[in-house]
């Protein structure tokens, strides 16, 4: 531990010396009485204030948590050499808060002492934990000794993902079994149409009720249930932010909700981070894929950069043909808008969730500010309309709204365009 003399040490030594010398010179015992207390304090402080080493170990009761959840840190302290009274404070990164305050504990030499500190996960993210600030509490106030340990363990806090009652259905399904009704006909549950029997049809497909009514063999064709490929494209190039909250947080929350819903529906889900450098995770399904995707989301950061690969940087295997691509972006950067337009031109089914940046902007200060805000809103509306004209569903999502509102808007648009194209 780093030990420093406090200001008191010099001041009390000077006070004691001056008072003693003055008392002798003036032959006044009162001055010697004034010198006694600081001299005694200095003497005791210097005799007892030896160096102290403390061994610190920090363990967390779990490696993963969810926003709003409390977890417990176990801090083990061992004083090496001598006993001391120590103030222990856990240094937590932004996004985690200690429910318990710093405490003062007495450490006996060589005896391990354990403290349990409750910590609340306030915000999603991957955190390095285990930094502890220690301060030896000197009863005489002559020395201050502090130490800070380095983080040793990682905690992943996942965003809360409420269950969605509706999800976007991909226009085209894949071959794997799933829960999405395919447009094609094969063995399934949902009836597509009835038609006369053709030699070679499966006998199990014969609809005996229709056959009895028409006095000839009829078969029922059905829609099979298949899975779809869903790729979530996150804009990590630009964001609107106000303090701790920003559009990236919205993007991560939306992505978590979507991937949880689609994976539960047995869809294959992948992710693409569209920033200065493009990051991706190929579509997959299952619980392991869920953790992979969320871990990838936790490392999402906005990195303002001039490096830009655009949609050309997204590899083909990250965007399987006929995949449903859901873009999550505030549509603030023209390069990102161009990249989404480029992706929409590929053989993918695209939808865009516009993470509304208005909620993160300061209120307009004057008339010029209001006018600029209106012009900006018009420009963004123009961008939105360009996507809609290309058949890409765009729906804004505001922080206070449930995510299903945006999904409902997109689904309504997709239903309309499907009907129109039919």
């Amino acid at each position: 531990m780093t030990r420093r003399p406090t200001y008191r040490l010099g001041a009390y030594v000077a006070l004691a010396v001056v008072a003693v010398v003055g008392g002798l010179a003036l032959a006044r015992p009162e001055l010697v009485a004034l010198a006694a207390s600081p001299a005694l304090l200095v003497g005791l402080g210097l005799i007892t204030g030896r160096r102290l080493d403390v061994a610190v170990g920090v363990a967390v009761d779990r490696q993963r948590g969810v926003e709003g959840q409390d977890l417990e840190l176990l801090v083990t302290l061992t004083a090496i050499g001598r006993a001391a009274r120590v103030e222990v404070a856990i240094v937590l990164p932004n996004g985690l808060t200690a429910i318990d305050d710093a405490v003062i504990v007495r450490l006996e030499a060589g005896v391990a002492r354990s403290l349990r500190v409750a910590v609340r996960c306030e915000r999603w993210g991957a955190y390095r934990l285990g930094a502890v600030r220690l301060r030896v509490v000197d009863p005489y106030g002559m020395f201050s000794a502090t130490a800070a340990t380095r983080p040793t363990t990682t905690l992943k806090v996942y965003p809360q993902a409420p269950v969605l009652r509706r999800l976007l259905a991909p226009l085209e399904t894949q071959l794997q079994l799933g829960a999405v009704r395919s447009r094609h006909r094969a063995t399934g549950v949902e009836l597509a149409e009835l038609r006369p029997y053709i030699p070679g049809d499966d006998a199990r497909a014969i609809s005996w009720r229709a056959t009895a009514r028409r006095q000839e063999l009829w078969v029922a064709e059905r829609h099979p249930e298949r899975s779809g490929d869903v790729v979530l494209v996150l804009d990590t190039l630009a964001e609107a932010r106000a303090g701790e909250a920003g559009t990236l947080d919205l993007a991560v929350r939306a992505a978590t909700v979507l991937l949880s819903g689609h994976l539960a529906r047995r869809d294959r889900v992948g992710i693409v981070g569209l920033g200065g450098t493009v990051t991706w995770l190929r579509p997959g399904m299952g619980a392991v894929q869920r953790y992979r995707l969320i871990d990838a989301l936790l490392s999402s950061r906005i990195l303002p950069t001039a490096v830009w690969a655009g949609a050309a940087g997204v590899p083909v295997r990250a965007l399987p043909p006929q995949a449903l691509v859901i873009g999550l972006s505030p549509l603030l950067d023209a390069r990102v808008v161009a990249a989404f337009a480029d992706l929409a031109g590929r053989s993918v089914d695209m939808a865009l969730v516009e993470l509304d940046p208005d909620a993160f902007l300061p209120s307009a200060a004057d008339e010029a500010d209001r006018l600029a805000r209106r012009l900006w809103a018009l420009e963004r509306d123009n961008v939105r309309r360009r996507f809609l004209r290309r058949g890409v569903a765009v729906a804004p999502w505001r922080p206070h709204e449930p995510f299903e509102t945006a999904l409902t808007r997109m689904e309504a648009f997709r239903r309309t365009t499907r009907r129109a194209s039919a």
């Binding site: 406090t6 009485a33 004034l34 207390s37 003062i104 009863p139």
Partner: protein
Amino acid sequence: MTAVAALLVAGGLVAYPLPSAGRLGGLLAVLGGLGLFSAALGIVVGWPQAITVALLVLVGQYGISLLNREGVDPGAPLVAVGLLLFAELAFASLAAPGQVAFSPAGRRYQALRVLVVVVGAGLVSGVLLLVVGAPLAGGPWMSASGVGAAAGLIALLALLVRRSV
């Protein structure tokens, strides 16, 4: 809060010797003003050396005020308490270099520590003055032992400081 309290205590220390100052009143007032100015400078600017200077000036002012007084000042323990209280409050109002603020538990502990220090200072000074007031015969040997004790105390402090810092 602690800064204001420290300045109030310093004001009390300056005012204490003034009523019985007599012809030294002007000098004591000037010294007191200097001590207060130094204390305020140290606290406001965050300069701990100025607080040390203020402490020494206040001791000097009190020592000079004793020149006018016959017999032992019964208020000396109070002055000792005041000086330590001023120093503790003034230093508490300054953040030590590289240190973060104390937690509520730490602040409670520090407040208790100041209380114990102040009460202890009053007791030590009071006991010392009682001993001084004991009817003991003086003489050159007694004076020499007093000077020796004082020199020994200063030497001991110097030795400890050299070993520890």
